[in-house]
């Protein structure tokens, strides 16, 4: 995947949609990799016995794995050095096998500290159309 080339601020308007990212189904293998890769060793994401003990039907994805997908979407649109903020609420659980689509759209343009900022709504949605993450991002454009 190539590194993003920033769009020009003049070409960006409120309502513009980013090209969505459709991810492969969440696998147990991916959760194991993220457990090691992120340093979040909470067994609830990788050990089904532990998850059941705490009332869950199965292991489920780390919220931060899905937030990383939001980050991938934003940096597929602008270079990372132009990202000023990324935030999200985790609104529902992502289960093994879920197919997540990451989408984003421009919600505003504003000036701050001599920069032109573009605000985005970004989210992860599962195969049933349910949002799993509802977030926002802010990027600086020239």
């Amino acid at each position: 995947m190539a590194t993003a080339t920033a769009p020009k601020i003049a070409d960006v308007k409120v309502g513009d949609e980013l090209k969505p990212l459709v991810l492969p189904p969440i696998s147990r293998h991916q959760l194991a990799l993220y457990c090691g890769g992120s340093g979040d060793h909470n067994p609830i994401h990788v050990d089904i016995d532990f998850a059941k003990k705490f009332g869950f039907k199965d292991v489920f994805a780390h919220g931060m794995l899905s937030m990383a997908f939001l980050g991938r979407l934003v940096t597929s649109w602008v270079p990372q050095k132009q990202v000023r903020a990324l935030g999200t609420r985790f609104t529902s659980i992502t289960w093994v096998g879920d197919v997540i689509t990451v989408s984003g759209k421009v919600t505003g343009k504003r000036e701050k500290d001599g920069e032109t900022l573009v605000d985005l709504e970004v989210k992860c949605t599962n195969q049933n159309g349910q949002d799993t993450l509802q977030g926002t991002a802010t990027v600086a454009l020239n």
Binding site: G37, N42, I44, L70, G71, T75, Q80, R84, R89
Partner: protein
């Protein structure tokens, strides 16, 4: 279960973490990130970065380098199986790159409950600075604690 609101304002001991290429490599494999600035120093420099760059949410992985990891759960006396991640927000001031020695300071800024104490929310803020004291990022996270006693009522 009831969380102690007197813990609002608690500051954790700051710690430093060195940003390592190998950790970024595994992190990128896990999240499916293949852009060259996260793997190749020359590509990163050609793109205007100081070196191999940490992905946006890798900051949370740096937080996991805390030698006192799990401090929040010990402070609250809460089992790890009861927590969920409610919210996470980052503000970015400069890219974090391989070789940076990052100092991270975290504190508890709010504790509150909803649904008659069935769910508790712990809000933490953190700041990350590089080896020169320059601010790299700020973070705000919300940890949700499921009250194991709530179902019994």
């Amino acid at each position: 279960m009831e969380l102690d609101k007197k813990l609002i304002g608690h500051e954790f001991k700051p710690f430093t973490a060195t940003v390592e290429a190998g950790k970024i490599k595994l992190f990128c494999k896990a999240i499916g990130e293949e852009a060259p600035i996260y793997a190749d120093e020359e590509a990163a420099k050609a793109a205007g970065y100081r070196g191999i760059t940490a992905p946006l949410t890798f900051l949370r992985a740096l937080q996991a380098d805390d030698p006192n990891k799990g401090g929040l759960l010990r402070l609250l006396n809460v089992d790890i199986g009861l927590i969920l991640h409610g919210e996470q927000h980052f503000e970015y001031y400069a890219p974090v790159v391989v070789g940076d020695v990052v100092t991270c300071q975290e504190k508890v800024v709010d504790i509150y409950d909803k649904k008659g104490g069935a769910l508790w929310f712990v809000v933490q803020e953190m700041e990350m600075k590089d080896q020169t004291g320059k601010l790299l990022a700020k973070g705000r996270g919300v940890t949700v604690v499921r009250n194991p006693d709530a179902a019994k009522k």
